[in-house]
């Protein structure tokens, strides 16, 4: 089988790409529908599979948020269509508390893991790593394929939990025990939680298979001349992302395994001193509920960098290309990615300042947490300097990159509030934190993803997305995101708790009813515009304007030296050799100098 042939010749020769690779490109692969579109081992197809599955979950997660926002906006009104849609979960057209919490929980879980982890780094790591480092495929295309199929299995299990009688898990995406351990404490903690745990375990496997593969590929399979310091920043970001995932996901899994034991086998890792209404005292003693939080956040915090680092990499690349100017401070950008990756492991307990954690221990986490603002600040200033005195083209990808930086600033600054434990003691678990992480991780992560999709869509499908729709999509999403999340800061400053089904009985929070209504209306509009994007995406795959030039954005990186619609193996003929870094834009009066261009004798040094 020719795929196998590619695989073996690739792995056998490792990173040495000699002329004997010629036959790979010219060879006509025998591909059936199944091997090309379903069980594909081509990294580009796997990337598209990740992307489209991620988009499915983005729509599901977005729809869930729309549903629970309707409840927050209209706590007293009933909408008959909700009963049609949700059945017993919305009797009389009124979403029940059970359903509300299930929606909130599933929304959080799928957006964090399935959309912003698998959909973002799964898509772009798969698509960009081989193309930008000059490799014909991943180190192990087979493991890569498995990574997707484990993700799909996780998706199927998670989706199935929506249909069980007791409902999906409803204890928040962080799944703190004892609530998540005791089916008697919440209906969502019955079968729904078992399915949630199985789905997440499958997802961890998927992440590890993917991550190990990305690391191996980046370290071993760079083309001739592609030293580490010539890598585009996308690859650096994806590399650190993979390292974070490989080191932290196993810890999460261990936490889940203990939880499975507590749930099913009568152990007491997390349980102690519990009396459940209607059930009585449980036999468990001696466990610590806080142990789970340590294990969870040891992944949970790196996880937010797993989400944001690929977005940062994409933004750096897209911004430099469209400013027609080198990224400012390449080594500082790599250094700050590295600093963030290291610090990511040392700040997890800032999620636990008010959990009963020793306050003295907490104080170290304050210091380390605020320290992480330094590399983040460096990145922002470097992006700003990249824009300064450029010649900026507002492609949709560029707009989303600028939007990303704006969101990252706004959400990053509120992190300085929350990372300081003496302020967190007031703001913890209020809408302030909801605003913070949605802006800095949710919206910024999605913006990075959109920047990537708009920028590399021509490479993925050989066609363009419709620009007018893209501009409408960007401006409404961008303005809408601020309108949704900015007022939430004020709700949080007033101490309004997150994850409340109804605020009408609270003297302290009911004055925000109008704000909640406003947020919901904007959320509905923004959601509708995302549907417009989906339409643009799928329509353009088949009917979009065809790409006619190999390098439509005038970019330096290697993927634009491949054919417009590259086959499995990426380059016809020899793999290009690299002679310079990826950011020679506007050097010596030249608009751009591709990485494959040898350094001229007269050329200035940077």
């Amino acid at each position: 089988m020719s795929n196998e042939e590619v695989l073996h010749s690739q792995t056998a020769t490792g990173h040495v790409h000699d002329t004997d690779h010629d036959h790979n490109g010219h060879h006509h692969h025998h591909e059936t529908f199944i091997t090309k579109y379903v069980f594909s081992q081509d990294h580009k197809m796997i990337a598209k599979q990740f992307l489209i599955t991620g988009m499915f979950w983005a729509v599901m997660g977005g729809l869930m948020s729309v549903l629970f926002r309707v409840q927050l906006a209209y706590p007293d009104e009933s909408f008959p269509f909700l009963e049609t849609l949700l059945g017993k979960w919305a009797k009389g057209g009124h979403i029940s508390a059970d359903a509300y919490y299930a929606l909130v929980t599933t929304h959080g879980t799928v957006l964090v893991f399935f959309v912003l982890t698998a959909g973002l780094s799964g898509t772009f790591a798969n698509f960009l790593i081989p193309l930008q480092i000059g490799a014909r495929d991943m180190a192990s295309p087979f493991l890569n394929m498995l990574s997707y199929w484990f993700f799909l299995a996780a998706s199927v299990v998670m989706l199935s939990s929506v249909f069980v009688e007791t409902g999906p898990f409803s204890g928040g995406w962080t799944a703190y025990p004892p609530l998540s351990a005791l089916g008697s404490a919440s209906p969502g903690s019955k079968t729904g939680m078992d399915l949630w745990l199985i789905a997440m375990a499958l997802f961890v496997v998927s992440s590890l298979l993917g991550g190990l593969n990305y690391i191996a590929t980046i370290l071993n399979m760079r083309t001739k001349g592609m030293t580490m310091t010539r890598l585009p920043l996308t690859i650096w970001a994806l590399f650190f992302t993979a390292v974070l995932g490989v080191l932290s996901f196993p810890v999460l899994l261990s936490g889940f395994i203990l939880l499975i034991f507590d749930r099913n086998f009568g152990t007491s890792f997390y349980l102690s001193d519990i009396y459940v209404n209607g059930v009585g005292a449980l036999p468990n003693e001696g466990g610590s509920a806080i142990l789970y939080q340590h294990l969870f956040w040891f992944l949970g915090h790196p996880e937010v960098y797993i989400i944001i680092l690929p977005a940062m990499g994409i933004v750096s690349e897209v911004m430099s290309t469209n400013a027609r100017k080198p990224i400012f401070g390449y080594m500082a950008m790599v250094g700050s990615l590295f600093a963030i990756a290291v610090l990511a492991f040392l700040v997890w307990a800032h999620h636990m300042f008010v959990s009963g954690l020793n306050p003295f221990l907490g104080s170290f986490f304050v210091l380390l947490t605020l320290l992480i603002a330094v590399p983040s600040a460096i990145k922002v200033f470097n992006w700003l300097t990249t824009l300064w005195r450029g010649n900026i083209r507002f492609t949709p990808g560029m707009l989303y990159s600028i939007g990303f930086v704006s969101m990252f600033i706004s959400g990053g600054l509120t992190g300085i509030y929350l990372g300081n434990s003496a302020l967190d003691i007031h703001l913890h678990d209020t809408y302030f934190i909801v605003a913070h992480f949605h802006i800095v991780m949710g919206v910024a992560g999605i913006f990075g993803m959109y920047a990537g999709i708009y920028h590399w869509f021509p490479k993925m499908y050989g066609r363009y997305l419709n620009n007018t729709l893209a501009y409408i999509h960007f401006w409404i999403t961008f303005v809408g995101a601020y309108l949704i999340f900015w007022p939430m800061h004020y709700e949080g400053l007033a101490g309004m708790p997150r994850r409340y089904y109804d605020y009408t009985n609270w003297e302290s929070f009911k004055m925000f009813a109008g704000v909640n209504l406003f947020i919901t209306v904007v959320a509905l509009i923004v959601f509708a515009v995302q549907i417009l994007f989906l339409f643009n995406f799928f329509y353009s795959i088949f009917k979009g304007r065809k790409v006619t030039s190999q390098n439509p954005w005038g970019s330096n990186t290697l993927e634009w030296t491949a054919p417009i619609r590259p086959g499995h193996g990426n380059w016809e003929g020899e793999i290009p050799e690299v002679h310079r870094w990826a950011y020679d834009y506007g050097k010596d009066g030249k608009d751009f100098i591709a990485q494959t261009t040898p350094v001229g004798a007269e050329e200035g040094k940077h």
């Binding site: 919490y101 005791l182 404490a185 919440s186 102690s272 009396y275 209404n277 005292a281 001696g286 610590s288 509920a289 400013a323 080198p326 400012f328 401070g329 390449y330 080594m331 009963g356 605020l370 320290l371 330094v374 600040a377 700003l384 300064w388 450029g390 010649n391 900026i392 707009l399 704006s406 600033i409 706004s410 600054l413 300085i416 509030y417 300081n420 434990s421 003496a422 302020l423 007031h426 209020t430 620009n467 729709l469 501009y471 401006w475 900015w486 400053l493 007033a494 101490g495 708790p497 109804d502 605020y503 609270w506 003297e507 302290s508 925000f512 509708a528 339409f535 834009y585 506007g586 940077h606």
Partner: protein
Amino acid sequence: MSTYFVIAVIVLVFVVIFQIAKASEYVSILKGEEKARKQNNKINGFLMIAFLFLGLIGVFYCHEILKGRILGESASVEGEKVDEMLYITTVVCGIVFFITQILLFWFPYKYQEKENTKVFFFPHNNKLEVFWTVVPAIALSVLVVIGLRNWFIFTGEAPKNALVVEITGKQFGWIMRYPGKDNQFGKKYFRNIDDASNTLGLIWADNAEFNQKADPASYDDIVDNSSTMYVVKNRPVKLIINSRDVIHDVGLPHFRMKMDAVPGTPTTLWFTPKFTTSEMKEKTGNANFEYEIACDQICGNGHYSMKGIIKVVSQASYDEYQRMQKPYYLTAFPEKDPSAAPPAADTSKNTTAPNKGVVEGTVNKTLH
């Protein structure tokens, strides 16, 4: 019917937008893609600066509308420090926010693509990079120092004269306990819990199976199952926080404090209320004002309804309230009242009730 109408309108709007978008694509091809791109570039460059202006106005306008709805003055002495820190942090972050956002949208406008622009090849500059590494590091150090100083006050020992009240979360309400006349909390053990008569599981009787001996200190403890707590104005109050089932959180927005209630791991929190509830009613102009305890940690499907009330009263009213309460033991066993009231001898020195009565302990603020 109206649902279908709404759907039809939405679909129609989509179709119209899509047709316009397609038409504009054809026009751009006819006009020449390069020319169309440059036009689009101008429009988006303008939108960048327009967004900056409207955004800044929006930030100001939003603040004007909502500033009255965030909490007014802190109702606790310690909360003033939180507010002060909020203010300092907002000034520091606000400066950075406005500078960076203005540059972020002004640069794209100013440096949008123009004919014959020669971009400035500027790959790095060590001085600049060191400058904006060091300045944020210094600013953040200042914030850390202020923050930690306050943090250690908040989480440090409560003053000696502090009132001590125990608060226990359960699905979905709060149980308050006062130490009674002897000023000591009796021991409790969760297997003694009986939702009808002993909601906290106080150790009132010997039990060989549990290896426990009746704790006389528990006989005069006052338990209030109505989710309402009484504390005294200007007197520090220390809460000993427990949970009976899952994790809850004692959220006190007006006092700017919160702490999780963890089953098996008692936590503490202390603050000094500044205003009585009736003073706050006047201050806020809201006759229904109450200091509400909001559960801030998702605890099940009734999470949103898990409300408690703190009544801040004068010392005299508090003493009156205490006098009116009957010890919980006597509520459970009315026949022992009053002659059979237990002697207050042989009490251990603990203020809270560790498990099983085996560990005589201080209050655990920490994991262990």
